[in-house]
Symmetry: C2
Subunit: 211 residues, 2 copies
């Protein structure tokens, strides 16, 4: 597949580029320079030019990039015509924040169901998403392959095993636990405490210059 030739580092930046170009398009902008893009998405312009060359988009000096061309390319690459359903597992504070996160509503990914063990939440819906009991995973997942994991760390491994058994092959893990999965399951791990620790470490050891 042609798209497999895009390096993973470039692939990670696609959603950022896509969102910014979409905003520009909605404002009626026809073209954008790599400098403008660079300032908006905080990626240096040499990297942007290299990334875009993989997409066959060659900016012209003094003109920049054609916004519609890029958008068309990104839409097909990111499969924006195809909706991906996602299950949210753990509807505590963090899970609820996800369900209410409005940007989710403007893209091709939908959180369509949530699971929790709290009987006060089961049977309700949060921002239009129904909450089922965690014991109903096997009935209610119905082919959903992607899950956001926002359960307590102590539950992470047990729940992960259940999700994998039900056919989930992608997990966005927001618990502090490093979960164990079979090789075919992709886990992206975002640990709030580690992110904060990294920021503090970088502040101390890689101070930025005042201009």
């Amino acid at each position: 597949m042609e798209q497999n030739k895009i390096p993973q580092a470039t692939a990670k930046r696609l959603p950022l580029y896509y969102r910014f170009l979409n905003n520009l398009n909605q404002q009626g902008k026809k073209r954008v320079s790599s400098k403008e893009l660079s300032e908006a998405v905080k990626v240096d312009s040499a990297t942007i030019r290299r990334d875009f060359s993989y997409f066959g988009a060659l900016g012209k000096k003094g003109y920049g990039y054609n916004v519609e061309y890029l958008l068309g390319f990104f839409r097909s690459t990111l499969d924006h015509h195809e909706i991906t359903e996602v299950a949210l597992v753990g509807a505590g504070n963090l899970g609820t924040a996800f369900l209410k996160y409005s940007f989710m509503k403007n893209n091709n990914i939908r959180i369509t169901k949530a699971f929790d063990a709290d009987s006060n939440k089961v049977g309700t819906d949060i921002d239009g998403v129904p909450v089922y009991h965690i014991d109903e995973l096997n009935e209610k997942l119905e082919g959903t392959r992607v899950a956001i994991l926002t359960v307590p760390a102590s539950e992470a491994d047990v729940i992960t095993e259940k999700l994998v058994n039900e056919g989930v092959n992608g997990i966005l893990n927001f618990t502090p636990a490093r979960i164990t999965v079979p090789n075919h399951v992709r886990v992206h791990h975002i640990d709030l405490a580690v992110e904060l620790q990294s920021l503090v470490y970088f502040l101390k050891h890689y101070p930025l210059d005042k201009e």
Copy 2:
């Protein structure tokens, strides 16, 4: 400074290594192999060996690494004797999740104050952290240099400007907004929607093998 020689990619993994080794130490383990480490933190063992060589830790074949030596090194490198105070700005669902996130309590970073515009929250505390009104930033920040930004996206730029004016030089940005800051301010950006989009994109375009 000697520590500046550690590559940034290695530096980003330090908090992960630190946490895992701390757990091992508490369990009374004296040594660990790079294979065990690799499985626990999900980093390949060649990378671990290269990382550790920067710390002057050379594993011995059939013995592995000395847990106490590594921990001592990490403690001094991550400045675990020094507490960093952090302000949380925006005590909605996501902000509250941060305040209740228990791992925070076991390291050298403390969220010591929160800010919100909601008069129902101002004057209360959440898990022991007092909530002040957002208009009190100038009085209550009191030299805090690091902030977690969990306000609505529409408020992100205005609040960021206030934070920077009050001397904040590190921001963990959890809003979808790409905020603009002076050069000396470090921003780490975690966008929940982008993280989810990346996971879905990788699942489609870089499927993992079933062994």
